[in-house]
């Protein structure tokens, strides 16, 4: 008894340990999976053992009845798990299909639970379906990367652990394809469902889900025929599906959320109704549906672009930006300046320059007809002169008693002339007064009657000849002066005659004077008076 108890305990304790290990793994943070810790590895192995042993009863042919963990590396452990899981997965899928069929036949919305466990599992699954997918994705990624041992073992074990989920199989099926693209927005399964619906609408019957068919039953895939894929005998296919579904059926309930099932059902129903339509009838049906659509569109209110005058309030926001509006522009568009335009302009300019043909308007020069008016500036200061003085000055100017005041312009003129004189003086200085006439300096000085020759010799260069005595000042003679050698005979005679006359006159004058003087006194040796 004790031994049995002990045995039980022993059996139980590893189970418990395994459960605990699994719990610990579950509760651990995802980043911890990346770290290398021996504890984690031990937990992972324990959990794997537990899961393996819990799944063993379901599997029929197995070489090993429990997971050999000690001393084996990741590859070997994985191979053992794989051995277990492959046939198990296929059986589970078959059951699932069978259950589907049952679900259809029951007009399948009932969710009767055979097991409470199943309920829990489903609820669990519902809640964490997204997380599961996330986990699976991580697991798959880690598989692909080929990273740590623990992760591989754990993820797969978790997958195995949740064996009751039917959706997850579908999801697994889809995993292989879309695990790179999928995220919380894009689900490949949803995409496939939508595509299948569209195709069903188009062709009037559902196309076969190749993948699921291929995956779910290897036997079916091996014997795939034209009829399987492209219609023909629907009943055959349904029978097959039915058998498969029955085999798959388990005690667990179906999920109502599985819309893939529903659509499949609907499509299959339609199939049964329309399977005998001819091409013509199909075309007619299409036309009819199109007509219906168009009539519906006509009855609906028109879009805002088709209505007449639309204000901003009547159309959605920013809708005018999206529509291509066309309206008349009354403005000539600005000319696009291209190289040709520039070249043509430049040619015109060159031609005109060569011709000398400039026809730009010139402003006519203003010719001053009258002298500029003298405008008095407005004086804003208190006037220094009293009113009486102002009138006095005015009167004085009028009568001419006072000289006319220099008007402003006169003052300016005098100022200007002074400035100009200063400037011209400076400019002359620049050229050493070469061009300017010498200023006349009137001063009194004594002129010496020195012969010019002497002066010329000694005088400095600066003294001009004008300072010396003029020839007239030296000699006052008149007429044609000739030397004795030049004289002719008559002239000589004339000169002599003049001389004689002068001499005689002189003599006569002196004699007269003498006689007058000696009117009182006797003349010595005088011959008159006898």
């Amino acid at each position: 008894m004790a031994a049995a108890v002990e045995m039980e305990k022993e059996e139980e304790s590893p189970m418990k340990k395994g459960e605990e290990a699994l719990e610990r793994l579950r509760s651990a943070d995802p980043p911890l999976y990346l770290t290398q810790s021996s504890e984690f590895a031990r937990d992972a192995r324990a959990a794997s053992c537990f899961l393996f042993s819990s799944l063993v009863p379901f599997c029929t042919k197995l070489p090993v009845d429990r997971l050999l963990v000690e001393g084996f590396d990741a590859e070997q452990i994985w191979y053992q798990i794989d051995l277990l899981s492959r046939p198990l997965l296929s059986t589970v899928r078959r059951e699932f299909k069978r259950l589907e069929e049952e679900h259809h036949s029951r007009a399948g919305l009932s969710t009767i639970d055979a097991d409470g466990d199943g309920e829990e599992m489903v609820v669990e699954k519902d809640e964490i379906s997204v997380d599961d997918e996330g986990d699976e994705e991580d697991g798959d990624e880690s598989e692909e990367k080929g990273s740590e041992d623990e992760e591989d073992g754990e993820e797969d074990d978790e997958d195995d652990g949740e064996a009751d989920e039917e959706e997850e199989e579908e999801e697994e099926a889809g995993e292989a394809k879309g695990n790179v693209v999928e995220d919380k927005f894009l689900k490949m399964q949803d995409l496939e469902n939508y595509l299948e619906n569209a195709e069903a609408k188009e062709y009037g019957h559902p196309l076969e889900d190749f993948d699921s068919d291929g995956d779910e039953d290897a036997e079916l895939g091996a014997n795939a025929r034209y009829e399987d894929f492209f219609g023909g005998n629907k009943k055959k296919q349904q029978k097959k599906c039915g058998t498969v579904g029955k085999r798959k059926r388990s005690s667990t309930e179906l999920d109502a959320v599985d819309h893939f099932e529903n659509t499949d059902e609907d499509v299959e129903k339609n199939d049964s109704e329309q399977k005998l339509l001819s091409t013509h009838e199909k075309e007619l049906q299409k036309m009819r549906s199109k007509i219906e659509e168009m009539e519906k569109a006509n009855l609906d209110p028109k879009s805002w672009t088709m209505q007449g005058e639309v204000t901003a309030a009547k159309r959605p926001k920013n809708s005018a930006l999206e529509v291509d509006l066309d309206f008349e522009h009354n403005v000539r568009p600005a000319p696009v300046i291209t190289e040709e335009v520039t070249a043509s302009l430049e040619d015109i300019i060159k031609k005109r320059i060569i011709e000398g043909h400039f026809d730009d308007v010139e402003r006519a020069p203003i010719l001053p007809s009258k002298p500029p008016k003298e405008t008095k500036e407005m004086d804003e200061n208190k006037s220094k002169k009293g009113l009486a003085e102002i009138y006095e000055e005015e009167y004085a100017q009028k009568t001419g008693l006072a000289p006319a005041l220099l008007s402003a312009s006169d003052k300016l003129k005098t100022e200007a002339t002074m400035l100009f004189k200063k400037i011209s003086l400076k400019l002359d200085a620049l050229s050493h007064f070469h061009f300017a006439p010498k200023p006349v300096i009137e001063d009194m000085s004594i002129q010496v009657n020195v012969p010019a020759l002497a002066m010329e010799e000694v005088a400095p260069l600066a003294v001009s000849d004008a300072a010396m005595l003029a020839p007239e000042e030296i000699f006052h003679g008149k007429g044609n002066i000739k030397e004795e050698a030049e004289l002719t005979k008559e002239e000589r005679k004339r000169r002599r005659a003049n001389q004689k006359r002068r001499f005689r006159r002189l003599k006569a004058e002196t004699f007269k004077r003498a006689v007058q003087k000696t009117g009182q006194s006797a003349v010595p040796g005088a011959t008159n008076g006898n």
């Binding site: 405008t375 008095k376 804003e380 200061n381 208190k382 009293g386 009113l387 009486a388 102002i390 009138y391």
Partner: protein
């Protein structure tokens, strides 16, 4: 020669006849000397009394000699200050050259009392055709309180520059005493100054008034 002499004789004869005729017709014309101004008013002495306002007392005392001298010396009018009655009294003299001198002197003193400078008021003595014109702001436009103050400010301008500008360009003198405005000058100039001041009271900006003044004064200057 004889003919000429005969003609001259006849001319003289006719002239003498005319003279006789005239003298025989009426009495000889009296020749009077011109009347003195004193005699013109029947030898009556006339007075003028100009009252002095309170605020002009001190200036009067300061400028008394400047007022007294031209009035007494040149106008030959007796002038005195009666402190008891606070009036300036003017009196005609026997040798006053012109009867209008008294009135001119009275106007001169009155102008000083209004607020004009002596140098400006003296022009009244020297020129005949200068007048003093007075008007109030309320004659032009009814303004109250701040509007009135602002109008007075507009009239004077900053540092009195608007007033001086008008004075200089129109050859007038302006006194702004609270609400009363006095203008001294010749008739035409008073008119121009008054127009400018009225436009300022009514609200036009100083620049506008200046431009108008410029054109008008230029026109005036051209005339003379």
């Amino acid at each position: 020669m004889e003919v000429e002499k005969v003609e001259a004789k006849t001319a003289v004869a006719t002239a003498m006849e005319v003279e006789k005729a005239a003298s025989s017709a009426a009495a000889p014309r009296p020749q009077f000397k011109p009347l003195k101004p004193h005699e013109m008013s029947d030898r009556k002495i006339e007075f003028r009394k100009v009252s002095v306002p309170q605020h002009r007392f001190a200036p009067l005392k300061r400028c008394w000699m400047e007022i007294y001298t031209p009035v007494y010396e040149q106008m030959k009018i007796d002038i005195r200050m009666n402190l008891k009655t606070k009036k300036v009294e003017l009196k005609n003299r026997a040798d006053t050259p012109d009867i209008s001198n008294l009135q001119k002197s009275a106007d001169f003193v009155h102008a000083f009392m209004l607020g004009f400078d002596v140098a400006d008021a003296v022009a009244l003595l020297r020129l005949d055709d200068l007048y003093v014109d007075t008007f109030e702001i309320k004659d032009v436009k009814t303004l109250r309180g701040e509007h009135l103050s602002r109008a007075i400010g507009r009239l004077s301008g900053k540092g009195g520059k608007t007033k001086f500008a008008i004075e200089n360009s129109t050859r007038t003198r302006i006194v702004i005493a609270d609400s009363k405005i006095h203008i001294l000058g010749s008739f035409l100039n008073i008119k121009i100054a008054r127009d400018s001041l009225c436009s300022l009271i009514l609200g036009s900006p100083a620049g506008k008034v200046y431009s108008k003044l410029r054109t008008v004064s230029a026109r005036l200057a051209e005339k003379y």
